[in-house]
């Protein structure tokens, strides 16, 4: 109990100081706000133009696609707030910055994850929320308590899947010792698998993104579940709950991988 209180108190100060750091550069925050508003605004507009010409995409109309896209951007925003240190993990490892974490009487993974609580993610959440709201309103979606709970589970589960994959990829640097950045690649992959239904892809890719790399669970399956769309499989639990479970499991595996990597770091140095 004492340990938990201790970690909470340290964690809250980490978060407070991260927020302070971010606010040191207001121009940066504003810049990202413009950039993200543009990215998601134009991105959604383009989907709209295409749907206007062609009608529904694999049975998904504009409103449903907005719901899906919004849900995806929301989980993206949360993952950006929570997991930004994973993006430059290669640099931290190669430059020996992990040494500093090891010098403090505190869990290393904890220090790493709390290193950079990134307020800038809010600039993703705002356009995400707008698009999501547009989808909800067009669909006359009723925000019952249960639906709110589902949405929260879906967003958190999605963020954990995104973050878990980043943490795994970042941990590879413990073994191969390079700075390789995987962020552009994963972002593209996340976009392409969460913005529209996976059913546009060939069968084997659908299975791959459901079972092997579970990107379908970030937004598509929970959105399908909430909107009562037909799914290519049957699971007797509601989709957002499964999504949350997948996220939690994936993130747990990623944490274990980090721990293994850290052991290797301690024995091999930099």
């Amino acid at each position: 109990m004492g340990r938990i209180r201790y970690y909470c108190s340290v964690g809250s100060l980490y978060i407070k100081q991260s927020l302070q750091s971010t606010l040191e550069y207001p121009a940066n925050l504003a810049g990202w706000f413009i950039s993200n508003l543009m990215q998601f605004g134009i991105g959604f507009a383009i989907i709209r133009f295409v749907i206007a010409e062609f009608g529904a995409l694999q049975g998904w109309g504009l409103a449903e696609l907005a719901f899906l896209y919004g849900l995806s951007v929301l989980s993206h925003g949360i993952s950006v707030i929570l997991f930004v240190p994973t993006w430059y993990m290669g640099n931290l490892i190669v430059d020996g910055e992990m040494d500093l974490f090891l010098l403090r009487p505190l869990n290393v993974l904890f220090q790493f994850l709390f290193l950079d609580f990134n307020l800038i993610g809010i600039t993703d959440l705002i356009p995400g929320a707008l698009i999501f709201a547009y989808g909800c309103i067009s669909l006359h979606f009723v925000l019952t308590w249960l639906n709110v709970l589902y949405i929260v589970l879906a967003v958190v589960g999605g963020a954990l899947i995104r973050g878990g994959i980043w943490l795994m990829l970042g941990s590879i640097s413990f073994w191969v010792k390079n700075r390789a950045s995987f962020i552009v690649l994963t972002m593209q992959l996340y976009d392409k698998t969460t913005m529209y239904p996976l059913s546009i892809y060939p069968r084997f890719l659908q299975i791959f993104f459901t079972v092997v790399i579970p990107l379908g669970w970030i937004a598509l399956y929970p959105a399908s579940g909430i909107l009562d769309k037909t799914l290519p499989f049957y699971i007797p639990v509601s989709m957002p709950v499964v999504s949350m479970a997948v996220g939690a499991l994936l993130f747990l595996i990623a944490c274990l991988m980090f721990m293994r990597g850290l052991k290797r770091y301690e024995s091999a140095g930099t």
Binding site: Y25, A27, N28, A30, G31, W32, I34, S35, M38, Q39, I42, G43, I46, F49, V50, A52, E53, F54, L57, Q58, Q188, K192, Y196, S199, I200, Y201, P202
Partner: protein
Amino acid sequence: MFASIFFWMAVYGNRDSAMGVTRESMLTYAIMSAFIGSLFTYDVEDRIIQSVRKGSIALDMLKPVGLFGIFLAEDIGGMLVALLQRGLPLLILAGLFIQMPVPASGLHLLLFIPCFVLSYAINWLIAAMFGMWAFTAISLGPMRSVKAHLVTMLSGSLVPLWFFPGWLRGVLEVLPFPYIYQLPLSVYIGRYDWNTLINQMGIQLAWTGCLYGLFMWLKKRAVSRVMVQGG
């Protein structure tokens, strides 16, 4: 890279054509978009920004060999490597599994080449000028991101501009972006009649000229500033 091909396959569904573009042409468009996208590998932006960060820009600019000439030569070299490593494999894979991206005619293919050269030039000049301008900006990260989004989304690289509403298309066609992706790709699939084609290529050439002039002016200003301040 293949995502947008599958996207178009799904969007067309059972339709044969939309906005006067057949399904086959649209897939060719998407494949060729990925192909030329893989050739647009620019280092010039990074190189300038790094040179400014390290403070070596003053020395670099005063060297007798043209700094930007070197960057351009390196980028063209990089493009040739990208052609072998990514461009050709991509075409082969697409040809094997989707369809062969065949040009509308031999003449269209012939016209595609100068169009592509100019689009490469426009993209490169924008990157170089952005590099020169960006280092004075306070927040580099978001600026680069804005630029990248503008080039990707408003150039027709993902979705051609003919799907955009008329007013927006009107605005965009005045800007240089559509001449980076959309024009060479449209030429390749033979979307334009000859009049429009000549007209569009004229605008592309004019944009290249304008950007080159702007680039030279910026460069001169940057060099004189370096001379005065000594870096």
